[in-house]
């Protein structure tokens, strides 16, 4: 991996291209024998879950209780339709907030840590030493992180859904609705395709986080500020990519499946 030089704008196309190359090499290494990444994969999954669970629970509850819960409950109370709260939640949480919260937390907590870790190995020349020994950094370091982030982001989506829904239930109950009414409306409006799309989206987010953070870690340059700078750029690029992909994905999903926009 050779870092792309130039200003932030002139280097962007080259950086995106280099990340594409890294993605190709990673996917090729996943299916090619020998599959030597097992133990590293397990330790990365354990690592990502350990650092991420607490921010994830807090973020999922905050995102659902605040933006989706309080704002919507206030409005629905005014129009006397607080019983529709569950249906609203099954759409907003499954479609939008759960994947977004997972992506933000995994990028901010696990992605940055992985980038710092790889950057540290790069500037201590451990990666060069590995290459000399004939160990490919992509096969042995990037592939397990790529798979681990995809898996953990998808697992965390389950928890984001659960805690987001619980936060919605809390708002509904606080505003004078009842749990039975909330879940009745919730499951009336829940669609299998919506849940499926939610998990596909989180998988894409996990892959983006892994590729961007690993690329920036592998191309960290020396100097005192090198690794810190790499983490900084990695998280900025990840957030931008998440925002843009989220828009494109949701738009494509809603346009291709108009049945999702029906109120039941």
């Amino acid at each position: 991996m050779v870092p792309v030089t130039g200003g932030p704008l002139t280097a962007l196309p080259g950086t995106v291209g280099a990340m594409g190359v890294l993605l190709l090499r990673t996917t090729r290494a996943i299916v090619r024998t020998p599959l030597a990444f097992g133990p590293e994969l397990v330790s990365q999954i354990a690592f990502a879950m350990r650092v991420g669970w607490m921010p994830l629970v807090l973020a999922a509850v905050a995102m659902s209780y605040g933006p989706a819960g309080i704002q919507a409950a206030g409005f629905l109370n005014l129009v006397g339709a607080i019983d529709r709260m569950g249906g609203l939640f099954s759409i907003t949480v499954i479609r939008e907030f759960a994947p977004l919260v997972c992506a933000i937390v995994m990028a901010g907590v696990a992605g940055t840590a992985m980038c710092a870790d790889l950057g540290a190995r790069k500037i201590r020349e451990e990666l060069d030493a590995l290459s000399v020994l004939g160990v490919d950094p992509v096969t042995n370091l990037v592939v397990p992180r790529f798979l681990a982030l995809i898996v953990v982001t998808m697992i965390f989506n389950v928890y984001a859904l659960i805690f987001g829904t619980l936060a919605g239930l809390l708002v509904a109950v606080v505003n004078g609705s009842s749990a039975g009414v909330f879940f009745h409306s919730y499951f009336d409006n829940a669609a299998t395709l919506e849940v499926l799309a939610s998990f596909v989206k989180t998988a894409i987010f996990g892959g983006i986080i892994a590729i961007v953070c690993c690329y920036k870690g592998l191309t960290a340059e020396g100097g005192a500020a090198g690794v810190g700078r790499a983490v900084n750029q990695a998280v900025v690029l990840t957030f931008l990519a998440i925002g843009l992909v989220d828009y494109a994905f949701t738009q494509a999903l809603l346009a291709l499946s108009p049945e999702l926009s029906a109120t039941r």
Binding site: V51, P55, L58, A59, V61, A62, M63, Y65, G66, P67, I70, Q71, A73, G74, F75, L78, V79, I91, R95, E96, I104, G108, V109, T112, A113, C115, A116, D117, G119, A120, I123, R124, A220, G222, G223, A224, A225, G226, V227, G228, R229, A230, V231, N232, V235, V236, T238, F239, L240, G243, L244, D246, Y247, T250, Q251, L254, L260, S261, A262, T263
Partner: protein, 261 residues
Amino acid sequence: MTTVRDGLERLGEILDFAWKVISRVLSGRVLAFAGESIRQAGILISGSVGVIILLVFALGLQCGIQGAYGTQSIGAPSIAGAFTAVCNLREVTPYAFGYMMAAKVGTGIVAELGAMRISDEIDALEVMGFDAITYLGATRLLGYMIVLPFVFIVAIGVGFLGSYVAVVWQFGRVSSAAYLEIFWVFQTPLDMVFSLVKGMSMSAFVILVGCYFGYNASGGPVGVGTATARSMAVNIVGIHAIGLLSTQLFWGSDPRSPVGG
């Protein structure tokens, strides 16, 4: 239990450090380095505002399509503006602003100050008789907080533009005038002030956390990377906590919507 105690200790250290920085701003000691404050503000404008605006625009588009499809599902695409006004002004722009402040500005401060710490530049400053917390921390806090309210207002505008593009141009089920009428009815200047307070609280938190982790970095270049990653984790938790509390405080008891009596 040790992790809980470590976490609380870390929180106490951050609060202690944050108060040192804030007190140096409030007591006016930072004014000895007013030029440095203005230079930091200039760096923020030229270096970070662009990406902040870009993320806010992307999430503004997102608000727009959610509002457009959501209101269409109840057969009233013309009230998409009610959704996007609340979505943009009250929630999504402050969160997007906070996320990008943490990603771009917060981690940038850690990388910069951390590099200065491990190459002993901060010690050199203190040997020369400079108060390092004032010169490095308080100047940044002051400089950024002068500029950020204006950046935030621009960001709100860009978020509005994103929703307008998504609802009126892209989705196209509502005319421009009908969209804007509902859109402006569902917000008041006071909502804007609340949103500004929310965004600025997140920003101040991010700046102070960044200064703390950068100022206390140790362990060589690797330590700077680790500190940068850690600061991001703390920021994620803090931004959501601030967002939740301020939503409850500002809009929890009164939805502030022009509906009913």
